[in-house]
C-alpha cells in the first residue's frame, strides 16, 4: 500500500541556480549534505565497484554496430517508406542510448580503461547535445544536491509541472532548442551566469572550445545537406536527437518524477523500476536509480546485484514502466493544484526509517 503525503502549505519554488530557493538550501544545510546510505559491508562494496572493460566493450560494439546497420539499411531504402523503421531504430540508438552512455561514461564507471570512457563520453555528448564540460559539472552538482530546488540544474520536471513541455520533450523539441542556444552562446565565448555557478573557471575555456568544434560539425552537416539537396545528412546527424529522444525521456522521467524534493534520502526522491531487457540495454541499467544515486561508484553492469543486496532497505521497485507511470502521472496532476504534493512510498519492515529531518521543516507532510 502506498501512502500519499501532502503539504498543508504551498511554498513557491525558485529553480534558478541564482535564486532564493538555492540560498535557502545552503542556509539550511541541504547543499552538499550528508545523504542516507544503506549499510553494505566493505568487502561486498569493493566487489560491486570493480571495473571491467568487457561488458562496456561488448555493449558499445552492439550499440554502434546496430547504428551502422540501421543507418545503412535506412540509406538503402531512402525515399521509400521501407526505410522508416530502420531510421526509427537508428534514432533511438542515437537520440536515447546516447543519454545513458553520456551518463555512465561521464561517471567514468562504464569501462575500466579511462580513455575508453572518455572516447565514448565525447561521442555520446555530441549525439545527446550536452556539452561534455558543462554537463559533467552539472551532473556532479546533481549528485551532490539531488532534486534540491535551486541547487540541482538537472531537475527534469519542475513544480508545478509544465505538461506541454513534458510532451514536447518526448520529441526533444525544447532540449534541442536549449542545446543549440547554449552551443551558440558558448561558441561565441560566453558562459552564462548560471553555468558559472557550477563550472569552475579553469574548465570554462574547454567548454567554449568544444562548442566551437560542434558548431563546425553542424555547419558541415548542413552544408552537405544543402549541397546534396537532401535532408539525409541531418537525418543521420542531429535530427535523431529529436525523433529518437522518446525512449530516454520515457525512462528518464521515472527517475525522480512525482517524488520528494529537498530531502537527503535518495529513497524519497528517486525511483527504481524493473524494465525489459531491450530498454535496459538502451538505458544501461539506469532504471536502478535509487541504487545508482546511493552508490554512484558501482558500474552499470553491477547495479542488478546491488539492487538484490539492498532492496530490503528500499521501497519496492516498480515492477514495470507502466506501474511507474500509473503512480507518477497522477502525482504530476496533483502538483498542478498543490506544488508541495509528492508521492511517498512505503518502506518494507526490514528498512531503516527515511531521513526526513530537513524535508519535515521545508514542506510538512499531512498524514
Amino acid at each position: 500500500m502506498r501512502e500519499i503525503a501532502m503539504a498543508d502549505q504551498t511554498r513557491k519554488r525558485d529553480y534558478s541556480l541564482l535564486g532564493e530557493s538555492g540560498r535557502t538550501a545552503v542556509e539550511m544545510g541541504l547543499a552538499a549534505a550528508e545523504w542516507y546510505h544503506t549499510d553494505v559491508p566493505r568487502k561486498e562494496m569493493k566487489a560491486l565497484m570493480q571495473r571491467s572493460d568487457a561488458p562496456a566493450i561488448r555493449d558499445t560494439i552492439i550499440w554502434l554496430g546496430a547504428m551502422i546497420i540501421f543507418a545503412g539499411l535506412g540509406i538503402y531504402f531512402w525515399g521509400s517508406w521501407l526505410g522508416v523503421p530502420f531510421f526509427l531504430a537508428y534514432g533511438v540508438l542515437y537520440g536515447s542510448a546516447s543519454d545513458s552512455r553520456w551518463h555512465e561514461c561521464g561517471h567514468g564507471t562504464a569501462f575500466k580503461t579511462r580513455w575508453m570512457n572518455d572516447a565514448v563520453y565525447q561521442l555520446a555528448c555530441f549525439m545527446i547535445m550536452r556539452n561534455p564540460v558543462t554537463w559533467r559539472w552539472s551532473h556532479t552538482r546533481h549528485h551532490t544536491d539531488t532534486v534540491i530546488v535551486g541547487r540541482d540544474p538537472e531537475i527534469a520536471v519542475m513544480r508545478p509541472p509544465d505538461l506541454l513541455r513534458l510532451i514536447l520533450n518526448f520529441f526533444g523539441v525544447l532540449d534541442v532548442w536549449h542545446a543549440m542556444v547554449d552551443m551558440l552562446r558558448n561558441a561565441f565565448g560566453v558562459i552564462s551566469a548560471e553555468e558559472k555557478t557550477f563550472i569552475p573557471e579553469m574548465e570554462q575555456p574547454r567548454a567554449i572550445f568544444i562548442a566551437r568544434i560542434w558548431l563546425a560539425l553542424y555547419v558541415v552537416t548542413i552544408a552537405t545537406a544543402t549541397a546534396m539537396g537532401s535532408i539525409l545528412p541531418l537525418v543521420l546527424i542531429g535530427l535523431p536527437r529529436l525523433y529518437g529522444a522518446w525512449h530516454h525521456v520515457l525512462t528518464g522521467l521515472l527517475q525522480h518524477g512525482g517524488l520528494a524534493d529537498n530531502v537527503i534520502d535518495h529513497r524519497l526522491n528517486s525511483r527504481t523500476v524493473h524494465m525489459n531487457p531491450v530498454s535496459r540495454f538502451i538505458y544501461w541499467n539506469m532504471n536502478y536509480h535509487v541504487e545508482h544515486h546511493m552508490f554512484p561508484m558501482v558500474p552499470y553492469h553491477a547495479l542488478p546485484r546491488l539492487h538484490a543486496m539492498i532492496k530490503h532497505d528500499l521501497p519496492a521497485a516498480n515492477p514495470s514502466m507502466w506501474s511507474g507511470y500509473r503512480e507518477m502521472i497522477p502525482a504530476f496532476l496533483r502538483q498542478l493544484r498543490n506544488e508541495d504534493y509528492f508521492l511517498r512510498r512505503d518502506l518494507p519492515a526490514t528498512a531503516r526509517p527515511y531521513r526526513e529531518e530537513f524535508h519535515a521543516e521545508l514542506a510538512p507532510a499531512a498524514r
Binding site: 567514468g108 559539472w137 556532479t140 549528485h143 574548465e203 561508484m297
Partner: protein, 104 residues
C-alpha cells in the same frame, strides 16, 4: 626523518589494493595498500566536496572518490581530472614490526 610517527593499524588490517580511514586528533586520513604491497597515506577527504575517500575504490595507484568518481594518484596526491582539480596532501608511511605508521 623528522615528524611525528603515529601508529595506524596492523598491516593485515588493510587488504591489498584497498584503503582504510584513519582519524587522529580531529583530522582524517586515508591509508592505502597498493597492489605491490606498499603503503601510502593522503588526506582523507576528497578535495572536491570533502567526501571520505576511504569509501571509494582503489584501482592500481588510483583512488576514486565514491561521490563523484573524482580520481587521485594516492602515491603522489595528484588530481587526475574533473571534478577533482586540487591535489591531495600526502604523508610519509612506514611499516615496522607488522604495523603501519603515518608521519603527520
Amino acid at each position: 626523518m623528522s615528524g611525528n610517527w603515529i601508529e595506524v593499524c596492523a598491516v593485515e588490517d588493510i587488504d591489498e589494493e584497498d584503503v582504510m580511514r584513519f582519524d587522529h586528533q580531529g583530522r582524517t586520513f586515508a591509508v592505502y595498500r597498493s597492489p605491490d604491497d606498499e603503503f601510502f597515506a593522503t588526506d582523507g577527504l576528497c578535495t572536491h566536496e570533502h567526501v571520505h575517500l576511504a569509501d571509494g575504490l582503489v584501482m592500481d595507484e588510483i583512488i576514486e572518490c565514491p561521490k563523484h568518481n573524482g580520481r587521485f594518484n594516492y602515491k603522489t596526491g595528484q588530481a587526475k581530472g574533473a571534478p577533482v582539480c586540487v591535489n591531495l596532501s600526502t604523508y610519509p608511511v612506514k611499516v615496522e614490526d607488522g604495523a603501519v605508521f603515518i608521519s603527520i
